[in-house]
């Protein structure tokens, strides 16, 4: 309306100007070309006026065109007329359109993002199974597919299954097989298909089946626990190991399998598993359903979800009870072995020491086996006997014995078999060069591992020099001409007793075995044994065997034994007694036990028996001495004392012999007069010492 007003106004102005100009021009008398000028001016003004009027319209048109092209731009309402209103309306429309467009764009963006982010390929098929739409990722994989038949793009695509709504299918692309799950939604004539790659799912399914197999068939107990350490999975291995079925175990805490004192440790292990991820080599006891305690080797691992949160634990347990026991046994055996080895080493060391001792001993030591062969031979034996070790080993031990002692080895073995274990005596041995030496031997049995006698060991000490000196001394001291290791026969009992008493005085241990009373025969009761069938203290049964044992049991080798044969001959016949004498002779000779005197005064010993006894026994001879016996006794006393480093006084002589001072002085004066002793002062005492002449007498005697 306002435009119309403006138009009328302009028309009026132009008409008025034209009227004024017309009048003036006519009056001035200008040429008619002025009308052409007017026309041109009017045309130009009209042109620009129209342009001015059309401007908003054209602007609107351009804006419309832009809007159609998608460029939303507003127009500026330049006036408040209809064009202005139109422009405002247009702007409102544009704003609405922009809003709509924006919302559409957002919606499209959302849809696009959903489609683009969709885990799978989305495509649409028309009723002829042509692809009418495909998402960018589908196109990226298969190229420009829109308009193509689906089977030209995807080989053997099962179009017959489209109606089923969901199916699985394998796409073969670039030589790779991609298993996909296709979900189809029919929208009118369009099939909207979403193909999702399920190779990952298949792989996981395979892995799951694999793990399930492991879980089911593992002999180890595999237990899966939730975050509260309650059992959720209990495999067959666990059932077999603990005896609980899955139904019984599921839902219970793991520590129901443990002794109470291990609960705290169990909690610690769970904490460690959470922090470190896993705890290995947990060796701990577990309780079976039947109450039996087993030892398991457990590994505890925490399970995390994709956010790294702990969702549970896996405990894998292996029964190591048998192994543990075996280990324990092995350990004990090892300890035992070590102990034995230690002992063995000690024994070996000891043996080496002993061997060293044996080897370096001053005594000759050798061993003999049961058949009499020498098995060992020390260095001293080489020196003493002359045979080297090589020569001696394997040699018959009897080669060491002089002719008269050939049966000694046999005798010793017999004695040892009878139970004598520490046999010790003086005897003789023959050296390699044939000379005979005196030795003191100690015999010990050698037992094998079964305790059977396997040989004997012999320690021999060369006492030849000692023996010779002793014999010499004894010969000088004895009143009678007797020698150790011999048996003598006396037909006079008093003589026999005198010999015994003499020997006792010279340090021998006297022993009188007789039926006669001791006071009658003048011997001390301590040295007396009564022959009697009655068994009591101090009596001996007149049995040759028992008598033999009694004599054999006498200790040492300085024994002076008197055996009264009279009562024995009454009780036993001569042959038995004679055999006893023979056996005793052997023993005394071999073992050098001392001096044995057999005596008989009765007529029970006839001529023949007497001869037989004389054959076995030596006779007793008295020694010739020029000085009276009692004086000689005193000399012998002094001599014996001097030998042991003592010098007796007159008083000692008095006490020894039980004589008065005068008697003792008289006897000492006789010896002084003969120059056999001398008196020397030892402090304020007067003591006596045998002179060289006295010693000569004693030596000759």
């Amino acid at each position: 309306m306002r435009v119309f007003v403006r138009f009328v106004l302009l028309f009026t102005i132009i008409s008025a100007i034209s009227l004024v100009l017309g009048i003036s021009l006519v009056e001035v008398g200008v040429s008619p070309s002025y009308y052409a000028y007017v026309l041109i001016v009017v045309l130009i003004i009209s042109l620009f006026s129209a342009g001015s009027i059309l401007e908003p319209v054209e602007e609107l048109r351009d804006a419309f065109q832009s809007a159609v092209r998608g460029e939303m731009r507003r127009v500026t309402p330049k006036s408040s007329d209809e064009f202005g209103e139109l422009a405002s309306a247009f702007n409102w429309m544009i704003e609405e359109l922009i809003r709509e467009k924006k919302s559409l764009e957002e919606s499209e963006k959302r849809f696009r993002s959903v489609v683009e982010e969709l885990d799978g390929w989305l495509f649409e098929l028309d009723s002829h199974h042509r692809i009418v739409f495909a998402t960018a990722n589908f196109k990226e994989k298969f190229g420009d597919v829109e308009g193509k038949y689906v089977r030209d793009v995807l080989d053997n695509f099962p179009i017959e299954k489209l109606e089923s709504g969901k199916f699985e299918y394998e796409i073969i692309k670039d030589g790779k097989i991609i298993p996909v799950e296709v979900v189809v939604k029919k929208d009118g004539e369009i099939y909207r298909c979403l193909a999702r790659d399920i190779s990952g799912r298949r792989r996981i399914e395979r892995q799951l089946a694999f793990f399930k197999g492991i879980l089911e068939h593992s002999v180890d107990a595999i237990v899966i626990l939730d975050v509260d350490s309650r059992i959720t999975v209990w495999n067959r291995g666990a059932e077999m190991m603990f005896g609980y079925t899955a139904g019984e175990a599921v839902g219970k805490p793991l520590n129901f399998l443990m002794p109470k004192e291990h609960w705290r440790q169990c909690t610690e292990n769970f904490k460690r598993a959470v922090v470190e991820g896993h705890v290995k080599d947990i060796e701990a006891p577990r309780i079976r359903k039947d109450g039996e305690l087993i030892i398991v080797d457990q590994t505890l691992t925490s399970i995390h979800d994709s956010n790294g949160e702990v969702v549970g634990f896996v405990a894998i347990m292996r029964d190591i009870t048998k192994r543990k026991r075996a280990e324990l046994d092995l350990k004990n055996s090892l300890e035992e072995l070590e102990k034995r080895t230690r002992e063995l080493l000690e024994v070996q060391k000891e043996l080496q020491q002993l061997a060293s001792i044996v080897e370096n001993s001053n005594d000759a030591i050798y061993s003999v086996d049961i058949v009499g062969r020498i098995r060992s031979w020390n260095r001293t034996a080489e020196k003493v006997f002359g045979w080297s070790k090589e020569e001696a080993i394997g040699m018959d031990a009897s080669a060491l014995l002089p002719e008269e002692l050939k049966g000694e080895t046999e005798f010793i073995i017999r004695r040892i078999r009878e139970g004598d274990s520490g046999l010790s005596f003086e005897t003789r041995r023959q050296r390699k060069d044939g000379t005979v030496i005196d030795v003191e031997i100690t015999v010990s049995p050698i037992l094998d591992e079964l305790g059977e006698l396997s040989g004997i060991s012999i320690i021999a000490r060369d006492i030849s020099e000692k023996k010779r000196a002793e014999r010499e001394a004894e010969k000088r001291m004895f009143k009678y001409d007797v020698e150790r290791g011999r048996i003598y026969f006396a037909d006079n009992f008093d003589l026999a007793v005198d010999v015994i008493n003499d020997l006792v005085k010279c340090g021998y241990t006297g022993r009188v075995i007789s039926r006669r009373y001791p006071e009658n025969i003048g011997v001390c009761e301590d040295n007396y044994i009564m022959l009697s069938s009655r068994k009591m203290k101090g009596t001996l049964d007149p049995d040759p065997e028992k008598i033999y044992r009694e004599i054999m049991s006498l200790p040492g080798w300085k024994n002076a034994v008197l055996l009264d044969l009279d009562y024995l001959l009454v009780k036993r016949n001569f042959e038995e007694v004679y055999e006893l004498i023979q056996r005793l002779k052997d023993v005394f000779f071999v073992l050098n036990k001392g001096i044995l005197i057999v005596c008989s005064e009765s007529d029970l010993v006839g001529e023949r028996e007497f001869e037989l006894l004389k054959m076995e026994c030596s006779g007793i001879k008295s020694r010739k001495v020029e000085i009276p016996d009692e004086v000689y006794e005193v000399l012998r006393f002094i001599y014996s004392k001097n030998k042991i480093g003592e010098r007796p006084s007159i008083k000692d002589v008095m006490n020894n012999f039980g004589i008065t001072r005068n008697t003792a002085k008289k006897r000492v004066q006789q010896l002084l007069d003969r120059g056999l002793i001398r008196i020397i002062k030892d402090g304020r005492f007067k003591v006596m010492e045998v002179t060289e002449d006295g010693r000569q007498i004693m030596r000759v005697a």
């Binding site: 003036s24 021009l25 001035v28 052409a36 000028y37 007017v38 041109i40 401007e55």
Partner: protein, 328 residues
């Protein structure tokens, strides 16, 4: 042996095709027609007419290809046209005028220039449009616009619109001035000052002053304004140059030709060169018009028209006041 080159092959390689020739011929016809009409009626500016013919031809044919051809020839034709147009500039000898007349003319021209520029700015016209309208109104109409246009590089549509508007304002003056003279009983000498100082085109000044027999005086005064173009062109080329104190060659040559033709060149030669220069420039304007869409020209709207009219009115009022005050 030296190869002979056939002329046809050479012609083929030349950038001028048959269509180009047709186009050039069309534009030349437009220019020629405009010139001929302007001879018949000096009020109708040949440049304006060539532009209008070009617009009509272009909008009738609507041949994009030809439009491109025309566009291609504009940068070639325009500098040549400007240079040659220099012969149309006749720098007057200021000593022959009354100083008051010279002062009034210069003040009036400046006032119109500034008024148009200011009003254009107020009406939110583009700066190029404002400058074009100001120069066209204040100095020498269409030719001023055509000469300064390569310097300030306006849109083709703005250029065309400015030419049309200035022509319209000038013609309005041609129509109104006799009326003003009729109603105010102004003396012919003073009318010569009024028309010379305020009317836009030389042709219109000539037509309107003929009525009172003061054609010579009016054209002489107009000559002062025309001479201002040399100064304005120089200033504008410096303002709008891309680098400092750069003056395009065609401006220099234009100024040189103008100076040369108005001083040393014999008047006969100048007179004979003027039609050629006018036809050449008219042809250029036809080429510009050919490429212009009339709808877009129209889009300039009524505001530049108002600015141009208002600025012109300021000048008219100023001169009328000067005349009325009896200074002249």
């Amino acid at each position: 042996m030296r190869e002979t080159v056939k002329l046809i092959e050479v012609a083929r390689e030349l950038p001028v095709s048959r269509k180009d020739l047709q186009m050039l011929l069309l534009l030349l016809v437009c220019g020629l027609m405009a010139y001929l009409i302007s001879i018949a009626n000096p009020a109708l500016e040949p440049l304006f007419l060539a532009l209008v013919f070009g617009i009509i031809a272009g909008n009738l044919q609507k041949d994009g290809e030809k439009g491109k051809i025309a566009e291609r020839y504009v940068p070639v034709l325009l500098p040549v046209g400007i240079t040659l147009y220099g012969v149309n500039i006749n720098i007057p000898y200021l000593g022959g005028f009354h100083p008051e007349v010279v002062a009034a003319t210069l003040i009036s021209a400046s006032l119109i220039f500034l008024a148009v520029f200011w009003i254009s700015s107020r009406l939110k016209l583009s700066k190029q449009m404002s400058v074009l309208l100001a120069c066209g109104s204040g100095i020498c109409g269409v030719s001023a616009i055509a000469i300064i246009s390569p310097l300030i590089k306006p849109k083709k549509e703005e250029f065309s619109a400015a030419i049309m508007i200035i022509t319209a304002v000038g013609l309005t003056g041609a129509i109104i001035y006799p009326t003003i003279a009729h109603f105010t009983n102004i003396s012919p000498e003073k009318f010569a000052v009024l028309s010379g100082a305020t009317l836009h085109q030389t042709g219109i000044v000539k037509i309107s002053s003929q009525l009172f027999g003061v054609e010579e005086e009016a054209l002489a005064i107009k000559g002062i304004r025309i001479a201002m173009i040399a100064l304005v062109v120089l200033v504008l080329s410096i303002i709008y140059s891309e680098s400092r104190f750069y003056v395009p060659w065609y401006i220099v040559s234009f100024l040189g030709v103008a100076l040369f033709s108005s001083t040393y060149l014999p008047s006969g030669i100048v007179q004979s060169l003027r039609p050629l220069a006018t036809v050449m420039f008219a042809t250029t304007l036809a080429a510009i018009g050919y490429t212009v869409n009339v709808g877009k020209v129209q889009r300039a709207g009524i505001r530049p028209l108002i600015a141009a009219y208002a600025g012109w009115m300021v000048g008219v009022v100023f001169i009328m006041l000067v005349i009325g005050s009896g200074v002249l």
